[in-house]
Subunit: 352 residues, 2 copies
Amino acid sequence: MSVTAARVAPAPGHLMRREMAEQPQRVAAAFAGVVAKADGLGHLVGAARHILLLGRGSSRSASTYAVEAFRSLAATPAATISPAHLAWSISTDLHGALVVAVSQSGESTEILAAARAARSRGADLVVVTNSPDSALAQLVVDEHRVLFRAGQELAVPATKSFTTSLACLLGIAASTRPELLAKAATAVPELMARVLDDESTRIDVSEATDFVCAGEGFAQAVGEEGAIKLRETLSLPVASFETSEFLHGSINSVRRGTAVLLSSSDPVGEHLSDQAAVGAAHRGARTVTVSSAHRSRADHHVRIPAVPPHWAPFLGVLPLQRAAHDAALVRGLDPDTPAGLTKVTRIDEAGG
Amino acid sequence: MSVTAARVAPAPGHLMRREMAEQPQRVAAAFAGVVAKADGLGHLVGAARHILLLGRGSSRSASTYAVEAFRSLAATPAATISPAHLAWSISTDLHGALVVAVSQSGESTEILAAARAARSRGADLVVVTNSPDSALAQLVVDEHRVLFRAGQELAVPATKSFTTSLACLLGIAASTRPELLAKAATAVPELMARVLDDESTRIDVSEATDFVCAGEGFAQAVGEEGAIKLRETLSLPVASFETSEFLHGSINSVRRGTAVLLSSSDPVGEHLSDQAAVGAAHRGARTVTVSSAHRSRADHHVRIPAVPPHWAPFLGVLPLQRAAHDAALVRGLDPDTPAGLTKVTRIDEAGG
């Protein structure tokens, strides 16, 4: 390679690194955007009998977070639902439901179809998307549209679009609780910057032959998102579990060479992570915990700042993003452009 | 080995085989039991603002089925929730909720704690369990107790206790629709017997080095349960996905040596399975579809009888149970007693 070529050829992972580093400022912008709409959103959430979350990939992980947020912060029943299933298979009446559709691109066929179907069956609709010009954004009036404000995301593994979508969803779930929302909007970006700057949050799982991610409560979303990052950057099958479900049998499937990454957001989650770490280590696996606990029974513990459970995923996902990036580099892969993946996934509309 | 020893030593998998074969009669008994309680259960379901399902392992897969059943057949919002999380982490008020706790043994610490917590916070409670004498069964009056009627289950991989719990949950979800429930109670056991007797439903995945299971809608539960069976009998990590979520990126993680098992319960699910089969085969994986479709784009198609979507999991799970059993035997493992697994899982109560 000539010196000139070396100068202009971007290093593998440069996009993902840049986008990871942008997260604090982008999350701050996302919070500001949703805070400005909190009044109107609060009315919708308050009126909802229940809430259905539509999302795929990283937006699906974010939806898992949102289920917890709606349950815990708004005392409103919430669940994720398959967009394809809602759009094309079932014809449930949705009067009284608030449907929240989450999509980075805002162009996913199934999310669009599900959002339209939901509204035609009587649901209120809020869209959460990065692109104000997308088809999804155009489905609703401005008051029902919450923007990631992540800027363009070029690396295939979503990082800043994931954490900004968390901010949007927290904003919707806490829209009737201005003090709680203001606190998160102020504190979370700074805490994220602190974790990103902290070299001690680095996780080395480059030696592992397979991976399992788990998390409980708010941290379940971190486990799901961590598994997606590892699948994307390493092209390996990675299962994710609720930690207590993992303990219930599936822990038996780990072995020497498995890296088990356990995230938690509260003392019960930490306790479950510790049990899972001990059990997995007993079977030869390498174990890593990510939490604010002072101590851990895992081989390696990444300590994040102690925060309310609903803030923890903003911090806990950062070491997993970096672990997926680093493991790809060690294997000679470019995390920015995993083989066979593109930024927008399209699923054909179902035939009869 | 002496001739005498050979005569008395049971063949590997004999318990699992016997219990799989018992399923039609046991499911018929479960239906009869829940039909007898339909009036009282119907009042509870009708009064519920939303329904929360508590289950772990195979009872968790059954809970995934129940979420669909409550949504589709009772038009009631439903979601699974981590028992540990409900019991020990969050303090949501649950007035207006119906909590359905599913547990084969009825002795799981976290399910018991969650069921008690749910009731103390105002929820109605229904328990679904195999054991009328269990601590869980004793929590409620007879009208709120639905029994698997599976008899004793000795093989560690749950088969008859899974399908009988499906019958109980369908019975609760359809408790206000006697005609629909009567139809299922009559037809499903016979159809199960037909599938069990049909040698063409045999799946050979013994050569695979790793596995992925997926399903959509009602069949999502089949994917989850199939993954648990394979994890249990082969001690391998096996991920399960909603089929449309699998298509959204995770399909990239399959490779030569992966067996991808795709279940569906309606034409949209079949369409998604076909897309997933084509994409996975393109990456070198071996693909199997299980559905009532006449044709499939997978390497191997297991055709089950055409039935309403909510019946499909009773039939679709049978080939996966047998596949897990057969793959273990080929590998010289005994599916009845997987290494390191026991029938009742206990999770320590969380400390502070």
